[in-house]
Amino acid sequence: MRKLFPHPQLTLLLAVVWLLLVNQITLGSLVMAALLGTAIPVLTGPYWPDRPRLRNLPMIVIYLAIVLWDIVIANFIVARIVLFMPNAKLRTAWVAVPLRLTRPEAITVLAATITLTPGTISADLSADGRTLLVHCLHAPDPEAVLHDIQTRYEARLLEIFA
């Protein structure tokens, strides 16, 4: 079983993506989805020698919900800043976020989340991979931004990529 499906999540993801691409569920597309979902993980297995284990499924769902909600909020916040705040009142700030996450996959997810959520963009990673550089569009209190990132996103990612 493990040999046939070395990466069950990837198998599922590939099958779902294929079905969405075809945009209809017929017997043919189901067979094709199963074929792709089986073949691609087996063929690309050697490239994933040390992939992360995702155990905490409920936490992933919670995390996705939080991020989606934050993206919607982010849109309104940034729209308000763009439309109504004079440039002179903008308080841009650079924030260095010390990372507790060590897995590249986890750091990538955190960086992408930061970019998609309110008023922050991840701009760079330190050369040793332990600090993330974040640019804030309007942050009168950079400490609060740091605290938000660490408790809201990073803490949950730590549980997911445990």
Partner: protein
């Protein structure tokens, strides 16, 4: 009728946010702040069109369309990556004032010859050699 209104509402919302994203590019003062508008405001802009499209096909054409979910997925995968590239390109141009220093290291952009293979580095435990940012002429 209700569906018509709902679809129209989402399209208008999408148009507004698409406009805000583009307007932000013009209005905000410098390259880093300009990055913020298109990465955020446009996700809801595109999202609104996609929701409207799904509603339209589900209620008017009578078949479920799911391409939109894929578009959302690809958008969420690509928007942060391109924003990250642009931010790094901008850092390369000129070291910004007030840039904090990472503890015991240097930002990857200013460490030539290293890639940020976080895991490999974490395993060996030695940080790449620190190179002081040389004066950039431009």
């Amino acid at each position: 009728m209700v569906w018509d209104l709902l679809i129209t509402g989402f399209l208008v919302l999408a148009g507004v946010f698409g406009f805000v994203g583009s307007f932000g590019l013009v209005k905000l003062p410098d390259p880093m702040t300009r990055l913020h508008a298109p990465t955020k405001a446009t996700t809801l802009g595109v999202g609104g069109v996609l929701i409207a499209s799904m509603l339209f096909f589900a209620t008017k054409q009578g078949h479920i369309s799911a391409h939109e979910l894929l578009i959302t997925l690809f958008l969420f995968l690509t928007a942060p990556v391109s924003a990250h590239f642009l931010a790094k390109a901008n850092l390369h141009g000129d070291r910004p004032e007030g840039l904090p220093q990472p503890e015991g290291s240097e930002w990857a952009t200013f460490s030539p010859g290293t890639d940020t293979a976080a895991e490999a580095l974490a395993e060996t435990g030695d940080a790449p050699p620190l190179t002081p940012p040389e004066g950039r002429d431009h």
